[in-house]
């Protein structure tokens, strides 16, 4: 019977092609607009490291000014001071811990005619690579002794390895960075978590860094630090004074395998802050935080207001499109009252009529959904061209989105078809036949 109903639906859609086209376009536009905005929101709030996000924790300590909180909502600063982060690093109270900061430098490639160029760098401790599971092509990260001995070692991204060494295995070779020679210990494959959860201070959708060097080289001034820096007290003159200041500019992450480890680590943090209070620091009430990756991204509200507003608007838009479809289906089905009456008189049950018209609505839904996918794809292209690299990596349609678009289209169009179908099934055959 199903294929028969499909054929009937086809005939009916073709016969009223104008009306059908308007309905399919309306559903398509509604689905397209919603899927476009849902995709952007979905990718903005995606889990950048799904297999580990629940055991990686960002550390926040409230080292801020007693007179005013770091943020209006009373939450502690997003980053740590050098004093606090290096202490937590040396205390080694977590399963793994990582101190990191943004940096930049200039690479001077060997050879004639090769021009020096700027690179973005991350200064991090050895555990960075294992904590965040970086994919290595050649070599590996450095070990803790390299951190301790302030060795000039570097991990390169594959692009930089391509540019400087032509893509070959460069482990063991040296490279001139910021006027000093660094030994290459590893080359990573493409790695660009979106959102860039491990450091969102200058943008949650920034690219990951081009080179990675030991954090201990920052204090040696072998690499220039950069990135977001906030101070509530004047830092004083000179780099040493800056390192001892109340300026926050470091990201600190710990890996804690279970809830108990988390509790213990939080008590350790609280004890540390209590200790510091005795030294006249941390004058604000105790307000330390440990958030895992998704809690951290949630707290930092990295899904932009614009994206949420657009999504709200697009769902309202979808509702308008559906109301439109309900109205037009109603018009169409009621227009068929004589035909329905005739079929009923010839013995068609309400059930068969109901299935027939629901299938017709479903077909319109599928067509609308397919058209909606096309619109969503166009919409994402449009968004990409409007925003450029601001939304890089946030405008791709994946299988989940494609399937949800079709499912959403079919479900909504069947819902839209319910009332008109019900009305169609309630046609009184006697009345219809009389007027024939």
């Amino acid at each position: 019977m199903f294929s028969y109903y499909l054929r009937l639906a086809w005939i009916s859609i073709i016969k009223h092609w104008g009306l059908s086209l308007v309905m399919i376009t309306a559903i398509g536009l509604g689905i397209g607009a919603s899927m476009t905005t849902v995709t952007v929101n979905y990718l903005m709030s995606a889990n950048p490291i799904p297999h580990k996000s629940s055991v990686l924790y960002n550390v926040q300590l409230d080292s801020w000014d007693i007179n005013e909180p770091a943020n209006d909502d009373g939450s502690p600063p997003e980053q740590l001071t050098y004093r606090d982060a290096t202490y937590l690093m040396s205390a080694k109270k977590a399963f793994r811990q990582n101190i990191q900061a943004q940096a930049h430098s200039v690479i001077e490639p060997e050879g004639d005619g090769a021009l020096p160029f700027m690179v973005s760098a991350r200064a991090n401790s050895a555990s960075f690579f294992s904590m965040f599971d970086l994919p290595f092509i050649y070599g590996s990260g450095w070990d803790q002794s390299a951190d301790d001995n302030k060795e000039q070692v570097v991990v390169l991204s594959s692009e930089i390895n391509q540019r400087v060494f032509g893509g070959e295995d460069s482990v063991g070779k040296s490279i001139k960075i910021g006027g000093n020679y660094f030994k290459v210990v590893g080359v990573i494959d493409y790695w660009n978590p979106t959102p860039k959860f491990y450091d969102i201070s200058t943008g949650a959708f920034d690219d990951s860094e081009e080179i990675f060097v030991p954090f201990s080289l920052i204090a040696e001034e072998k690499i220039n630090r950069s990135g977001n820096t906030s101070c509530w007290k004047p830092p004083g003159d000179g780099f040493q004074a800056f390192l001892n200041s109340e300026c926050v500019w470091l990201q600190f992450w710990v890996e804690l395998p279970n809830e108990q480890a988390k509790e213990e680590y939080l008590s350790f943090l609280n004890a540390y802050v209590e200790e510091q209070k005795a030294l006249g620091r941390f004058e604000r009430p105790l307000n330390n935080r440990l958030n895992n990756v998704m809690q951290w991204l949630e707290q930092q509200q990295i899904v932009s207001d614009d994206a949420v507003m657009m999504m709200t608007m697009s769902f309202m838009f979808l509702v308008v499109c559906l109301l439109n479809t309900v109205g037009l289906l109603l018009a169409k089905f009621i227009g068929k009252a004589p035909e329905i009456g005739l079929r009923q008189a010839l013995g068609a049950s309400r059930r068969t009529l109901f299935s027939q018209y629901i299938i017709e609505s479903g077909c319109i839904g599928v067509a609308g959904g397919l058209l909606g996918l096309l619109f969503a794809w166009l919409g994402l292209q449009g968004i990409e061209s409007l925003y450029g690299d601001m939304l890089k990596g946030l405008t791709g349609l994946d299988t989940t989105m494609i399937v949800s678009a079709i499912v959403l289209a079919v479900i909504t169009s069947i819902i839209a078809g319910l009332y008109p179908t019900w009305r169609a099934c309630n046609v009184q055959p006697s009345q219809q036949l009389k007027s024939q």
């Binding site: 003159d237 949420v308 608007m313 697009s314 309202m316 838009f317 109205g327």
Partner: protein, 404 residues
């Protein structure tokens, strides 16, 4: 008037269709009014003047990497070279580019002390050529003199003796009389004094979304740091021609640094407001498409109800109703449906706005916009119903005599 009751009673017999159209009109009004409102807010932000002579300005970044690099000498050479170049009006070294997104901020207060709250201000470190280079308008006091300009070694955190601030900053510090700022002392870092010697009309901070975007200060400093920026103002119309020339000139004059990101101020503005621009374009397409869909919905349902009433209409025509009477029947019917939708829509628009205000801290909507939305939807309704109504009016009286 008697007709109105008639149309209304006829309408009640087809409640669902009318209700569907009303709801569409209501939602369209809700979305339209709020979308236009959001667009207006963004456009207003985008139209603020940065205070700069944007059309003739470009900037570049100068990154020093050589180990032995005599910064004071090289900077003087660079600036002299730039200022002598044919077609260049003036040039400066600066620590941050207005509206670019990245910069330096501090707090100023009119009395020293740790426990007094300060007013946030964007800091631009420049020399005495800044006003001429940026194209600022000095409205009170005087420019820095060359002897005011000090060297700021990397990592040093003191402040010079003088500052020039924007009018908005002067108003924030001295709300009673902003001109009294001239000659007054402001305190930075809680207790380091700065004499205010000049006020410029406007100069925007690097952050366009900041509520203090008009509050900036100039301090007379030359920076001895490995990364800084140059801003260059050219004679009108010569910017694009000079950009590559200057990039080459600087790159070749000293190999111990990298010249990069040679960017016009126009491009900086475009990047800065790209998000705003994108939202506005998306919202305007939403409004257009929504209006079309609602319009088509009205056409579709009106056609349907006319088809159903063909015989009735024929009968009325046979009994002497004029074509105009038939047309006005459907137009008045649409007016009634629209009115119901508009009442719902105004409530919806206000509620959505209340939600937007509370969730995203937007400002409340203004009443004119709602009035505009109401008029717009009545017009859309009437235009959409015009074609079906005309078709209805064309139905011949003879239809009354035919069956079905």
């Amino acid at each position: 008037m008697q007709e109105l009751g008639l149309i209304f009673r006829a309408l009640l017999r087809n409640k669902v269709g009318a209700l569907l159209i009303s709801l569409q009109i209501a939602l369209t009004l809700t979305i339209m009014v709020n979308a236009i409102f959001m667009m207006q807010e963004r456009s207003a932000q985008m139209q603020r003047s940065s205070g700069l002579d944007e059309a003739n300005l470009f900037h570049l970044s100068n990154t020093i990497f050589a180990q032995e690099y005599n910064q004071p000498v090289n900077l003087e050479n660079d600036l002299a070279l730039l200022r002598q170049t044919d077609g260049v009006v003036d040039a400066i070294q600066i620590n941050a580019i207005p509206i670019s997104g990245g910069g330096w901020s501090m707090g100023l207060k009119t009395e020293p002390g740790d426990d007094i709250s300060s007013t946030g201000v964007a800091v631009y470190m420049v020399d005495d050529h800044a006003i001429n280079t940026l194209g600022l308008e000095l409205i009170a006091g005087e420019n820095f003199s060359p002897t005011d300009v000090e060297w700021r070694p990397s990592g040093k955190n003191s402040w010079p003796a003088k500052t020039i601030i924007t009018q908005a900053m002067a108003e924030a510090l001295f709300p009673d009389d902003w001109q009294s700022a001239i000659g007054a002392t402001a305190y930075i870092n809680n207790n380091e004094p700065l004499l205010i010697t000049g006020i410029v009309k406007s100069l925007q901070a690097p952050w366009n979304g900041w509520d203090g975007v008009e509050r900036s200060m100039l301090v007379p400093y030359k920076m001895e740091s490995s990364g800084s920026r140059f801003m260059i103002r050219t004679q009108p119309g010569r910017r694009d021609e000079l950009m590559p020339i200057i990039e080459k000139l600087l790159s070749e004059s000293n190999k111990g640094r990298i010249i990069r990101r040679v960017t016009t101020m126009d491009e900086t503005r475009e990047r800065s407001y790209r998000g705003h621009n994108a939202v506005n374009k998306i919202l305007s397409s939403v409004i257009v498409v929504l209006t079309l869909i609602t319009g088509f919905g009205i056409v579709g349902l009106a056609m349907f109800s006319i088809n159903r009433r063909t015989k009735q209409i024929g009968t009325r025509r046979a009994l002497g109703a004029t074509q105009w009477q038939i047309m006005s029947f459907f137009m008045i019917e649409n007016l009634m449906i629209s009115s119901f939708g508009i009442i719902l829509g105004v409530a919806g628009a206000v509620s959505l706005n209340i939600w937007l205000v509370s969730t995203f801290s937007l400002s409340p909507i203004n009443i004119n916009l709602i009035l505009f939305g109401i008029v717009a939807l009545y017009i859309i309704g009437q235009i959409s119903v015009l074609y079906p109504a005309r078709k209805a009016a064309m139905i011949s009286p003879a239809t009354a005599t035919r069956t079905a």
